[in-house]
Amino acid sequence: MQLDPKVPGGPIQDKWDNHRFAMKLVNPANRRKYDVIVVGTGLAGASAAATLGEAGYHVQSFCFQDTPRRAHSIAAQGGINAAKNYRNDGDSVWRLFYDTVKGGDYRSREANVYRLAQISVNIIDQCVAQGVPFAREYGGLLANRSFGGAQVSRTFYARGQTGQQLLLGAYQALSRQIHAGTVTMHPRTEMLDVVVVDGRARGIVVRDLVTGKVSSHSAHAVVLATGGYSPVFYLSTNAVGCNVTATWRAHKRGAGFANPCFTQIHPTCIPPAEGGHQSKLTLMSESLRNDGRVWVPKEKGDKRAPGSIPEAERDYYLERRYPAFGNLVPRDVASRAAKERVDAGYGVGGSGVGVYLDFQDAIGRLGKGTIEERYGNLFQMYERITGEDPYRVPMRIYPAPHYTMGGLWVDYNLMSTVPGLFVIGEANFSDHGANRLGASALMQGLADGYFVVPYTLADYLASTRLDPIAADGAEFRGAEEDVRAKVQKLLSVKGKRTAESFHRELGDLMWHAAGMSRNAEGLGKALARVPGLRAEFWENVNVPGSGEDLNQALERAGRVADFLEFAEILVRDALERNESCGGHFREEYQTEDGEARRVDDQYSHASVWEYKGPKMEPALHKEPLEFEHVKPTQRSYK
């Protein structure tokens, strides 16, 4: 496997401009002769399909949901960053670039991040033109707020539903192209394999989730925008349908998987209820940390109601430990600090798993109306789930898996190690390093989809000789047979356990061994246990019904089977990376203050795993990372 990042030459601020000029174009009249497959309709997938459709390509778009508007980008609450500097507070492209590289703990590719910061300003223009109802000031201009980890106000938002509004903008742009006939939409259709012909991605195999029919689609290029893999931990803030299947199966066809151990734990989620059958954890936007204060009782195991604990007996531990950033420290720092307090016995709530996020001061200072204006829908959601009123009683929060920085390796053009297979949005590994800053996921998804892949994909098409191909060649038939065989195998085990019970067991194992903090011993044990669990799955899973119609248990079992394979490279990657950085916290590598300690001389690289076969160990390749502009320093948020 060759890892050529293909970063263009020249000064960093000119790389993208120069590259756009150097790339080849496809003549407008020829574009309709090219078929492009886009899998996934979140911010990245919908924006890419819409933009490629507008350009005139013939696009096939796929999603497993009943409509493209339901992709999980819809649930992003807080906002989207852009270096507009509307607040005149010292923001710039350079500063957003710097903050993102630093926030990613120096494990991202500088050139990609700089491009992201450059493009950020265009995204806001585009979304406003589409009618995205961003928050406004009384004068009618766009409002901003500051967001976890940033000292400038560069986050644009639409109440606590920014992801929903941006996704509807992209969905509407996509709908316009469906109406115009440039995009053909395939909802309730799950991608189950990538078809590689003569070393290039030339199509996919899908299963129609209503009829059960397995079929192939051919194209000149394939774009995966299928999101992250947080549900490998079972309980996460992701939708219950989110899965690793598309990226994992592409990996098995030759796409390198980069940094699978870089997972992000979100500090502000509603804690799991005691002994429940919870199917997911609900995120409370971390914008809440702008006005909420995090605390636990100073006394261990203090079971008094929060209102009866006097001010002097509260420990505002983030403000105490990090006076400069206080409640706005980055996500990983806030998450570990919460875990540290809970593990030490200071946790609150019935289960003792949680810390308070208190709005009394903010309500006193700004009035209930302002808090309601800013967070009304979040407060309402919290009350629905917990039965407690956060205007009166502090919220209880605890960290939960939320976003995965790792993903399929891509070069500067967002192409994977399989030529013709592009990967965008959360599904790739590119821009966030070891830790993503708040409000940067929406920015990256839309940057990739609206402004990067439409150019780089055109360059690939214009500079590559791609013979016509039909979806019934040997490679397609072979891949289809593999998919059908796997479906039959799942149905024929007829064991005793549900796929969900295996998923829960895997998640529990992963959360404890490879969740918020990790150590070599725990990871070693997990690496030994995952294959056993996988073997039991294939001997004892019970999937009812048939493959010939709508069968949700079958869909789920297929996804769990892939998580059971994928989990192993996540653990392996975490074990191999003998340092702490960003979301990857290895207990053996910490400073005296309990902060992450990087080992730059050995691990300043992206770890890229190559699939070698079912019984073989994967091979590790490394893309060295060089930092010309942002010199690595030990992060300090004190």
Partner: protein, 249 residues
């Protein structure tokens, strides 16, 4: 907590459906309604029976995938709340819960509690957007939008496309859904250029998809999990009338 359930079972779009009696025992009050169905499904799989098919995804009330009738009420008894955000503490111990899919000609049942809502997508495709090719946008602050206008646009844009309005309406009308999108885009300066065509094209498509007409029952507003207001329907009607006269379409 214990519950008796009567759940609609239907093998496929053409099959004849029926109610199945089930029991949910020892359910924690903190379990969500859909998690209660998950538990039932796990038990049925273990007993070798076919689990209940239902749509859901985000399970935090924003994706719009879920939604069933619970005792004849779209999404369930709580106002402004999707099915996934109902918890069993919101019901009474020992209750009988009748669980059915959305019922509307334009939303054919696919299986059990799942329906086909693609008619909503076709309505949006007919004009529920502002034409703005990628890259063609002016500077974002070039056109100020008064805060009150942006807020009003947001209120309409908050629609999650779940279809509860249609399910709740005695006429199976989609006017709250369509009105919300027309209202969102018509409120903004960016949406003015296509405003007349949008209203006419979306309303015509809505009729073609087999949705009924509004007769002011107000059930849609009551059922809407995002509390979208019926004023959107009045604005849509006004836009449609004005545009039909002007465009002579």
């Amino acid at each position: 907590m214990n519950f008796k359930l009567r759940v609609w079972r239907q093998a496929g779009p053409q099959a004849k459906g029926h109610f199945q009696e089930l029991e949910a025992r020892d359910v924690s009050p903190d379990t969500s309604f859909l998690e209660m169905l998950d538990i039932l499904n796990a038990r049925m799989i273990e007993e070798g029976k076919e689990p209940i098919a239902f749509d859901s995804d985000c399970r935090e009330g924003i994706c719009g995938a879920c939604g069933v009738m619970i005792n004849g009420v779209a999404h369930g008894p709580l106002p402004g709340t999707t099915t996934c955000q109902h918890h069993m503490r919101h019901f009474k111990d020992g209750d009988t819960l009748v669980v059915e899919p959305w019922r509307a000609r334009a939303f054919p049942v696919l299986k059990d509690l799942m329906v086909d809502r693609s008619a909503f997508d076709r309505i949006i495709q007919a004009g529920g957007y502002i034409t703005a090719d990628t890259g063609s946008a002016p500077e974002a602050n070039a056109i100020p939008v008064p805060k009150a206008v942006a807020d009003q646009a947001f209120e309409s844009a908050a629609c999650i496309g779940c279809g509860a309005c249609v399910a709740a309406c005695p006429n199976a009308s989609a006017m709250l859904f369509v009105g919300a999108k027309i209202g969102h885009l018509a409120a903004l300066p960016q949406g003015q250029a296509e405003r007349p065509d949008r209203a006419v094209d979306m309303v015509r498509t809505m009729d073609d998809q087999g949705f009924g007409n509004c007769t002011n029952h107000g059930e849609c507003e009551k059922a809407c999990p995002k509390e979208i207001k019926m004023t959107n329907i009045y604005r849509m009607n006004a836009d449609f009338l004005r545009a039909s006269c002007k465009l002579q379409k």
